[in-house]
């Protein structure tokens, strides 16, 4: 049951990241650069490279999560990424900036709704990450417990 919940959480998180990337890639990178500039955090020289690469990074991360390849590490990176986004959003909202969120493409103002949604995403990502690492540790523990028995059996047979 826990395993399936973990898989479901991972796939949902991956799908959300793929959608976020899709929403940014379907418009020109200048749109996302505009949203990024609104946060007044990055130097001008970084706006273009980040606007061009971040959506592809989100896409790759989403695909890794959905496919289950490098699941623990992609979940961990997702948590760090979403956590960083959330921190920047909180900071901008607290500073009273009336800006576009830029989370899922253009036209969405930063406000309580977007903060609750992104906060929930961070929580989901964190749960998936913890679950993935705990699950992996349990698998290892189980494997370690059985290994000596198998070795003994082989000795008996010999």
């Amino acid at each position: 049951m826990t395993r399936w919940l973990l898989v479901a959480g991972r796939v949902i998180l991956g799908a959300i990241l793929v959608y976020a990337a899709y929403a940014k890639l379907r418009v020109s990178w200048l749109v996302f650069a505009g949203s990024l500039s609104g946060y007044q955090l990055l130097p001008d020289s970084l706006l273009e490279p980040i606007a061009k690469t971040l959506p592809w990074f989100e896409l790759a991360l989403g695909i890794l999560l959905i496919s289950g390849v490098l699941a623990r590490w992609s979940a961990l990176v997702s948590t760090l990424l979403l956590g960083a986004f959330f921190a920047v959003m909180i900071r901008s909202y607290a500073a009273g900036l009336k800006i576009d969120c830029g989370c899922f493409g253009p036209g969405e103002a930063l406000g309580p709704k977007t903060l609750i949604r992104d906060g929930s995403l961070v929580a989901l990502s964190l749960a998936v990450t913890i679950g993935a690492f705990v699950s992996r540790k349990r698998q290892r523990d189980r494997a370690d417990r059985w290994r000596p028995v198998r070795d003994n059996q082989r000795l008996d047979v010999a």
């Binding site: 793929v18 990337a21 020109s28 749109v31 650069a33 505009g34 273009e48 959905i66 496919s67 289950g68």
Partner: protein
């Protein structure tokens, strides 16, 4: 199976992203709305330019003033005067600014007598002087001859159609989902994209240069 899962979304997205560059999104709407609502004096650059930038500004907005003073001259010199980009000035007076509509009225009246650009520049440049008391007229008078100023004053006082373009610009802004100034709508291949806030000029320049080089 995992490889398939890995590749499928990438293929779907890549295909859609490429289609998005040239796709027919808003094409019909852009063709129907754009030029029909524009007064000529609010347009700068060649009508055949491959890229059109529609700039939504509010005369009382400090960021719009900064954009107009810092970015516009470079944009005009490098892209508009070389017929590579067309600029359309659109008014989006925000409700919290009591004198924005009056300023737009002066600018449009100046447009009627062929002095739009001069007066718009002056209104933005002197924004701190009139923004608190609405005394726009003395500032406009500094850049017009007495006869031109008399015509502008008369138009501001009597012309009931002077706000028509403002009303149309605001309606268009609402259709585009614009809620802040300055904002920009980039029109290319019939597709409209809202850029808000407008990124710094270096970023804008890089984008325009790469788009125009691909043609």
């Amino acid at each position: 199976m995992r490889l398939l899962l890995f590749l499928l979304p990438a293929l779907l997205i890549t295909g859609d992203a490429v289609a998005g560059e040239t796709g027919p999104v808003h094409k019909k709407a852009a063709a129907e709305r754009g030029p029909a609502l524009i007064q000529n004096y609010k347009e700068f650059g060649s009508p055949n330019a491959p890229v059109t930038l529609e700039l939504y500004t509010d005369y009382s907005c400090p960021s719009c003033r900064n954009f107009y003073i810092q970015t516009m001259p470079a944009l005009m010199a490098e892209f508009v005067n070389t017929n590579r980009v067309r600029i359309v000035h659109r008014d989006f007076p925000l409700p919290q600014h009591p004198f924005s509509r009056l300023a737009a009225r002066y600018a449009n009246a100046a447009g009627e007598i062929g002095k739009y650009d001069v007066v718009v520049t002056q209104i933005f440049r002197t924004q701190p002087e009139w923004d608190q008391n609405g005394a726009i007229e003395p500032q406009v008078a500094k850049v017009l001859s007495p006869s031109e100023m008399a015509k502008v004053k008369e138009l501001v006082k009597t012309d009931s159609h002077l706000d028509d373009t403002v009303t149309k610009d605001v309606a268009l802004a609402n259709q585009d989902g614009i809620n802040q100034t300055p904002s920009m709508v980039l029109v290319r291949n019939g597709k409209r994209e809202v850029i808000a806030p407008i990124p710094p000029y270096t970023v804008l320049k890089s984008y325009l240069t790469s788009v125009l080089a691909r043609r």
